[in-house]
Symmetry: C2
Subunit: 240 residues, 2 copies
């Protein structure tokens, strides 16, 4: 195994974005591609590490950027402002996401017919929004994602399979919102799964989460279980 | 591998019960034991097959009986009457279940300190009731189980880990009941997980389910996914 990476630029009108592709260079020919959508903090080592782990599993991992290349590594308050802007303008968010999906499909290491997306926190909402857009990617996985419906996709038919991995005590995605997500995805015709973890809060996969406010709390059991569920889901999608 | 089986009698006061133990006779020494609680139909080939699959995985599977040895293979209406009687008398049900757990622990093939329970439909409720009783078994898995709380266990501390595998469109266990189960298990201190499958109804693991009324419908995807989740859960419990 020899994990290689490269940075990839892509553009939406005037705004430039930068993603990082990771793949095992000892594998010949195109392989399934898995996009990784970032948390509120923008593309960081956290998502790049996930792309690397996906590469080790034989996929091409692509840690994307939906804020803009110049914003990577920015201050938290700036990231929050950008995240809130995109949560309020889901059409723009979806356009940037689908652009990232197309960018991934266009890489020579990637089998364009075998693409999935995963995402964390805000990135979980991004993964769900790719599915809600009706894109024919194979599947999406949300890790402690936000569940609020975008408002512009209710008439779409979801073709991607969906796996949402969810802390039941997540203050940012309540049981009522989980129930609403189930109704939304069923109405849109999706093959969906929701795995709920008791006594688990937001950001449970992130060892660096700050538990002081009780919102974001790392949970080793949920981290391990959710990754195992995602691995099984991807192997089912791609018959790997 | 050489799967052996034997029938085991056990008694609760005047009533006799009969379970079937399955194990791999080429494995020496005690191994983890997994109890299998039956559907409304009582102990049948369905549960005995699960016990055999558990034996193939290196466990000792024990297809139990909570109706009584003389009732095995009875008519559906009789089974329903017995099931309803036990749903209305959870203390009696729990006593019979814990008796079955102790019977499993007492078998020479079984490591008494490493025991779990799984169950289907009514048997899912049984698996959850074993956990609710506070017994120190390692874990329980409910497949399309009924969720109604027993009413006599709210003050107990749950020590078993819990995995509930649930069809979101199950008419016998609604989203509201799933939310209530989460609150109940959290209040009892459990390490719990609930995996919800969209567009899936009751009895989704049973290829013989009669879909004509829309209540019980086999679902091959949910069957495969739930078994994979249970396998991972058991391997986590027993470090196998």
């Amino acid at each position: 195994m020899a994990i290689a990476t490269r940075l990839i630029d892509y553009r939406d009108n005037a705004r430039g974005f930068e993603g990082m592709l990771a793949w095992d260079d000892t594998i010949e020919g195109p392989r399934p591609g898995v996009l990784v959508a970032h948390t509120i903090r923008g593309r960081s080592g956290f998502e790049e590490d996930k792309a690397g782990r996906l590469a080790q599993m034989g996929y091409a991992g692509f840690a994307i950027d939906v804020y803009g290349k110049d914003e990577i590594g920015g201050e938290f308050d700036d990231c929050r402002r950008m995240m809130e802007g995109l949560r309020d303008d889901r059409e723009t968010l979806q356009r940037r996401l689908l652009l990232a999906v197309e960018t991934l499909r266009g890489q020579p290491e990637v089998d364009a017919s075998r693409v999935a997306a995963i995402g964390y926190c805000f990135g979980g909402l991004c993964a769900l929004d790719i599915a809600r857009s009706g894109d024919a990617l194979a599947g999406v996985v949300s890790f402690h994602g936000l569940f609020d419906a975008p408002g512009n996709t209710a008439c779409n038919r979801i073709r991607a399979r969906i796996l949402a991995l969810h802390g039941w005590d997540d203050p940012l995605a309540t049981p009522e919102q989980a129930v609403a997500l189930g109704a939304e995805l069923t109405a849109m015709g999706a093959d969906w799964q929701l795995h709920c973890y008791g006594n688990v809060r937001h950001a449970f996969t992130n060892p660096a989460a700050d538990p002081s406010t009780g919102v974001t709390v790392y949970n080793a059991d949920a981290d391990r279980r959710s990754w195992a569920a995602a691995k099984y889901f991807l192997s089912e999608l791609f018959d790997t």
